[in-house]
């Protein structure tokens, strides 16, 4: 079981395609992490888990 503290989490859009391409996150105090939308990535996996548990919300992109 992972045990990350995620204090910021926001989608980033491709400025041309307008689709979500990654998540900008602060995890365990480390800022400016670009998390790919890849289920095999441990950070994305944890984000999805915390969202499913209702303890985390991903902000929409600007």
């Amino acid at each position: 079981m992972q045990n990350y503290s995620i204090t910021f989490c926001k989608y980033v859009k491709d400025p041309i395609t307008e689709t979500n391409i990654s998540i900008l996150a602060t995890i365990d105090g480390v800022e400016n992490l670009c998390v790919p939308l890849d289920p095999a990535n441990r950070h994305y996996e944890e984000i999805l888990k915390q969202v499913a548990e209702g303890t985390l919300t991903i902000e929409e992109a600007d």
Partner: protein, 384 residues
């Protein structure tokens, strides 16, 4: 039983050799080319049989891309030596991790991992667990034949040195099938390097997924509360139960700032025999580690902005990584979330990467000057 004592036994017929219970000794060799014999031995010349036995990467603690020392550790994660993860739950203790040069004498090691306690926590909470971990991809442990009738035993060996004597617990956790096996080892003498070998049974239940995701975890317990010690130690494979994970663990590293724990020479191999440690070159271990983590801060990828909202970088990682990594940008002066403009070395915000993969980065997004050059370093994390 009688004993025959002689100085020399010579062949009776020229070129016929000497036969001993069906084995021919001839011209200084065992057997003949026409009739080769099998040799069963746990050791040849006291050294290893041959290539690649150790399933663990960086077992000699040679590679520490993130740094050789990290202080004030109060959260879990990968801190110093590559591939090894730190976990701590429900403790207020604070630790320092380092890649140490204190090693067992005469064993050929140059480094060990060391954890020191810098702030103690003398109250062991029921939910406390402090662990050192190694995580395996499923495709790298298929050789264990787990979940088949031919499941293999594995032997874990390592050198350990600790301030606290007593009983420690090691787990293997199958995360694909939620199964567990646990064994103990004893540190007999304080502040003394000791060699430990532990053999785990094969598990005929639960096949491991043949993919790039997490399947097995090795856990070295350094402290465990009653949530993990109140059952019966899982000395045979069984369904995962927290209470059976660390029964018998007498040591809690967090209790004093005098405490420390060191380890090196970690080897896990198929079979019941711990063979001598398989030393690998630094370059080889670095390449294996870079499948999971890579950084080039201060060395830099570079590219040109074809438009004002992106820079084409196309920087390849030195190894194909396990999966698309979490990326952090760094400017030339080491500022996180920034890149550097080549014209004046000013720091420019990177809002995201775009089009990255396990092979490398492709674009960075932000606000740039069209046709200007930019460069950046990255930290790429594809750990399990």
């Amino acid at each position: 039983m009688s004993t025959l004592t002689v100085g020399t036994i010579s062949e009776k017929v020229t070129d016929a050799g000497v036969s001993v219970d069906g084995v021919t000794l001839k011209d200084g060799e065992l057997g003949t080319s026409a009739s080769p014999v099998a040799i069963n031995s746990s050791s040849l010349n006291g050294g290893q049989f041959g290539g690649r036995r150790n399933i663990v990467i960086n077992g000699a603690m040679q590679v520490a891309q993130r740094g050789t020392s990290v202080t004030s550790i109060s959260t879990e994660g990968y801190k110093t030596v590559d591939r090894f993860k730190w976990t701590m739950d429900n403790t207020s203790a604070v630790f320092t991790h380092s890649q140490s040069t204190d090693v067992p004498t005469g064993e050929g090691f140059g480094n060990s991992f060391k954890v020191d306690v810098t702030t103690a926590d003398t109250s062991l909470a029921s939910g406390n667990q402090t662990r050192f971990e190694y995580r395996f991809e499923g495709q790298d442990v298929q050789q264990l034949a787990k979940g088949t009738s031919n499941a293999k035993k594995v032997t874990l060996s390592f050198w350990v040195k600790a301030y606290q004597t007593g009983t420690y617990v090691v787990n293997i956790h199958d995360t694909d099938n939620s199964r567990l096996i646990a064994k103990t080892y004893t540190v007999n003498s304080s502040a003394t390097w000791e060699y430990k070998t532990i053999t785990f049974d094969g598990d005929t239940t639960g096949t491991l997924n043949n993919d790039n995701n997490l399947s097995l975890v090795l856990h070295w317990y350094l402290g465990a509360g009653s949530d993990y010690t109140s059952g019966t130690l899982a000395t045979s494979w069984e369904s995962f139960t927290n209470a059976n994970r660390a029964v018998g663990q007498t040591v809690d590293i967090a209790t004093s700032t005098s405490n420390y724990w060191q380890i090196t020479g970690i080897q896990m191999e198929v079979g019941e025999q711990a063979t001598p440690f398989e030393h690998r070159s630094f370059g080889e271990e670095l390449g294996l580690c870079q499948r999971y983590y890579f950084e080039n801060v201060g060395k830099n990828f570079g590219g040109i902005a074809p438009e004002t909202n992106r820079v084409l970088v196309d920087g390849l990682f030195p190894q194909r990584m396990r999966t698309s990594p979490t990326l952090t940008a760094f400017s030339n002066d080491g500022t996180t979330g920034k890149c550097s403009r080549s014209l004046d070395n000013s720091n420019i915000t990177v809002t995201s990467f775009n089009g990255q993969s396990a092979d490398g980065i492709h674009q960075i997004l932000g606000t740039f000057v069209q046709n200007a050059g930019y460069y950046l370093g990255v930290k790429a994390d594809a750990e399990l």
